[in-house]
Each structure stands twice: as structure tokens, then as C-alpha cells.
Amino acid sequence: MLELQELKKSFGGQPILKGVDLSVEKGDVVAILGPSGAGKTTLLRCVNFLEPADSGHMTFDGVTYDLGHMSRRDILALRKKTGFVFQNYDLFRNKTALQNVTEGLITGRKMPRAQAEALGMEMLERVGLADKAGSYPSQLSGGQQQRVAIARAMAPQPQIIYFDEPTSALDPELTGEVLAVMRDLAQSGMTMLVVTHELSFAKNAANKVAFMEEGQVVETAAAHSFFAQPQTDRAKEFLRILNQT
């Protein structure tokens, strides 16, 4: 469904992604793990073109793109098939929860308003926030904002949703409600690529793990085998440190 080959990106001459290869099948929930600074955020941003990659190829839904030469039109078309959930939620601050969900449908995809609103309410219900449809982001808790953000990403029925540490800006007591929504989404068959520090999510909800270090995916494995028998020394070390804390 999604395949990355040799994705490279540098900032100011400093290589940050040094040729990332990654493959995601339809229905996969892939957890990207790795130490801080490994390039996980940069990878997701390149995959959705928030940062232009320097080179590499992406195959999405059977079509291969040269990441070094993307046209605006291809970028927009690809974004319409994907969803993105940010670490800091980034809900539209001038819009209500429902408008946050429907904006991309109405303005981006020209869906009739009534249909978009019905779909938007359905999405808010799925994340347990139908009663907050008229609230502005400033009136919602962090966990609620992130659930609205997930509803916003789900609404257009994308082929994949990217998550960048969706719970790491939240107070610990609020992470549970967001993870529950994500588990539910994973069970519904949504393809997900999730950068996370939540080992429990990676263990229980993901079927694959991609371990990143210093700008590369150094190990990819089925989730259970990654945690049971990590292959590389770096992954072993990473898990050992995390398990201590």
C-alpha cells in the first residue's frame, strides 16, 4: 500500500534521513520506535510533504513517485488520500470541533455540507465527542482535542493515517482515552503509521514495528517478535533502557 525506498533528507547540509526503506501493507498498524532525534518526525513530515524530501521513491496505492520531483497536484492528491495526526493536535482554532472535521470534506473535497456534517457527527460519535460538536478547541481538554484531530483525520476515509506521537503532549491521565480511540481505529482495519513512545500501544495494537536510529530504519519486525527477540544491538539497548524506566 505504501512503500518507501531510499528516502533521503538533509537540513542545511546535515543528513537527517539517510535512506529510509519502509513498507506498509493495507491494514497494517506500524509503530515507529526509536530514540529522540532519530528522524521519526522528519520521516512522517516527508511522507506527507510538509518537508520536501531530497530524493527517494514512494509507492502509494500502486503508483510510484519520485520524491525529489513532486508536483503540487500529486502532493494534493496524495494528501487527500491520507490523514495526519500531530503531536500538538493543531486543530483549527477558529473552528468548532465539527467544523474541524468537516472543513477538509467541504472545502477540500467539495462534499455537500449536509452530507459532510452528518459524516462529521458520525466521526465525533466514534471518538466519543458528539456532545462537543459546537465547542472551540480552546474549550476542550488536550485529550479531547486529540480525539477531534483523529476524527478529522478519519473523516475522509483515507487509505492511511500518520500519527506523530499523538499522546506525548498529553498529561498521563489523558493518554488512555486517545490510545483507546486509536486501538479502536486499528481494529476497524485502518492502515496506520504511528510514531510513538507508548510501548504498550506498539505491543498491543501494532502488528509491525519499525525501529529507527540515526536517520535509518535499522530493524523491521512483527510486533511480538520485536519485543520478544529484538535482532539488532541498538534495538536491544533501546528496549532495555525503556524497560528500566
Binding site: 494528501r79 487527500k80 490523514g83 500538538n88 486543530l91 482554532r93 477558529n94 473535497r109 474549550q139
Partner: protein
């Protein structure tokens, strides 16, 4: 106060208020509308980093902020007039005021656009909006809310600056006052009176601005 002075002030009430309502206010409204169009175009061109237009925008702001409004007014009215482009004085006044204030407001709007966190734009693009849709639907509404109070100040200074167009024969409030002074020779009372009219109108604008700000604050987003 003598009876004569009271009569003069009473006369002044209508003789100054009428040009105020028929000249000063319409000129302010039209020039400010022009300033807003100019400001939005210039601020957005810079925000979009359009290569040629950004250069032009910087140049425009440099020229219009770096020269006196009175000089701009004379160039547009007398200068263009000499070259054969004779604009009615009122139109020349609207142009000069609008183009001048547009340069200042452009900086206000640009700063407001840049104050919106970049994540708002990126979230729009990730939701399947184009860059321009994200700006129009998400970034600009937030920026205009930030820009609203300083733009209100600009509107007030524009109201006061309309007095400058008395220099190119537009019969607005200040010209009416000058005429009365030369007739009655009571500069103190009459100039004070016209000052009170400006104060009245700018107070109205301030009230409108407060009211507008309250409306915007209904959303209460931070």
C-alpha cells in the same frame, strides 16, 4: 461667551457637520476600503513568498512609508494632473490616503499572518486543503482577529488625515472651518469646534471597534 460667538458656533455646527457627513466620512470609508485591499494583497504576496511580487511589495512599502502623505497627495493630484491625468480632487484624495495607509496596514496584516502558528497551515494542508484554501479558511481569519485592533487605529488616523486633502481643494470639514475662520476671524473657537467633530467621529470608530472586537471574542480561541 458673547452672543456673537455662540451664533458662530451654532452656524458652524451645520456648516462643519454637513461636509463631515458628505465628504470626510465617505472619503474615510472609501480610502480605508482601498487600504484594506492593498494591505491584504501585499501582505499575502509576501506571506506566499511569491518571487516577483514580494520584491514589488517591499518596494511599495518602502516608498509609501518613506515619503510624506502630503507629498503623495500632491504628486497624485497636481503631478499626474500636469501629465494629463486629471483626477477629481476627491478621487485623488481617496487614492493617496488609501495607497498610503495600505502600506502601513500591509505590515500589520503580514505580522498578524506570521503570528499564526505554522501548524495551523500544515494542518489545513494535511486535511486536503490547498495552500490558498488553508490560508483563506484557517490562517487569515485568525490573523485578521489579531490585526483588528491595530487596524482600528489605522482607521482613526486615516479619519484625521483626511484633513490634509483640504490642500487639494476637497471641501471637507477642515476646509469648512477654514472658510468660517477667514469670514468671522474667530480661529480659536472655530478650530476647536472642528476638533470636537473629529473627536466625535473618532470616538464613534473606537466604539465600533470595541463592539467588533467583542463579537470576534465570542469564539474565544487562543
Amino acid at each position: 461667551m458673547t452672543q456673537r460667538l455662540l451664533d458662530i458656533l451654532a452656524q458652524g455646527f451645520t456648516r462643519i457637520l454637513i461636509p463631515g457627513l458628505t465628504m470626510t466620512i465617505p472619503m474615510t470609508v472609501l480610502a480605508f476600503s482601498l487600504a484594506m485591499v492593498v494591505a491584504l494583497a501585499i501582505a499575502l504576496a509576501q506571506f506566499a513568498k511569491l518571487p516577483v511580487l514580494t520584491g514589488f511589495s517591499r518596494f511599495y512599502i518602502w516608498v509609501f512609508r518613506g515619503t510624506p502623505l502630503l507629498v503623495q497627495l500632491f504628486v497624485i493630484y497636481y503631478g499626474l494632473g500636469q501629465l494629463g491625468l486629471k483626477l477629481p480632487a476627491f478621487v485623488a484624495g481617496v487614492l493617496a490616503l488609501g495607497l498610503n495607509e495600505g502600506a502601513y496596514c500591509a505590515e500589520t496584516v503580514r505580522a498578524a499572518l506570521e503570528s499564526v502558528p505554522v501548524g495551523q497551515l500544515e494542518a489545513g494542508e494535511c486535511a486536503g486543503l490547498t495552500w490558498w484554501q488553508s490560508v483563506r479558511r484557517v490562517v487569515l481569519p485568525q490573523a485578521m482577529r489579531t490585526a483588528f485592533p491595530p487596524l482600528g487605529n489605522s482607521l482613526i488616523s486615516m479619519l484625521k488625515d483626511t484633513s490634509l486633502v483640504s490642500n487639494i481643494t476637497v471641501a471637507e470639514m477642515f476646509v469648512a472651518a477654514q472658510r468660517m475662520v477667514s469670514y468671522y476671524y474667530e480661529p480659536f473657537a472655530i478650530y476647536l469646534e472642528v476638533g470636537v467633530f473629529y473627536l466625535f467621529f473618532s470616538t464613534l470608530i473606537t466604539k465600533l471597534e470595541r463592539w467588533g472586537e467583542k463579537k470576534l471574542n465570542a469564539y474565544e480561541y487562543k
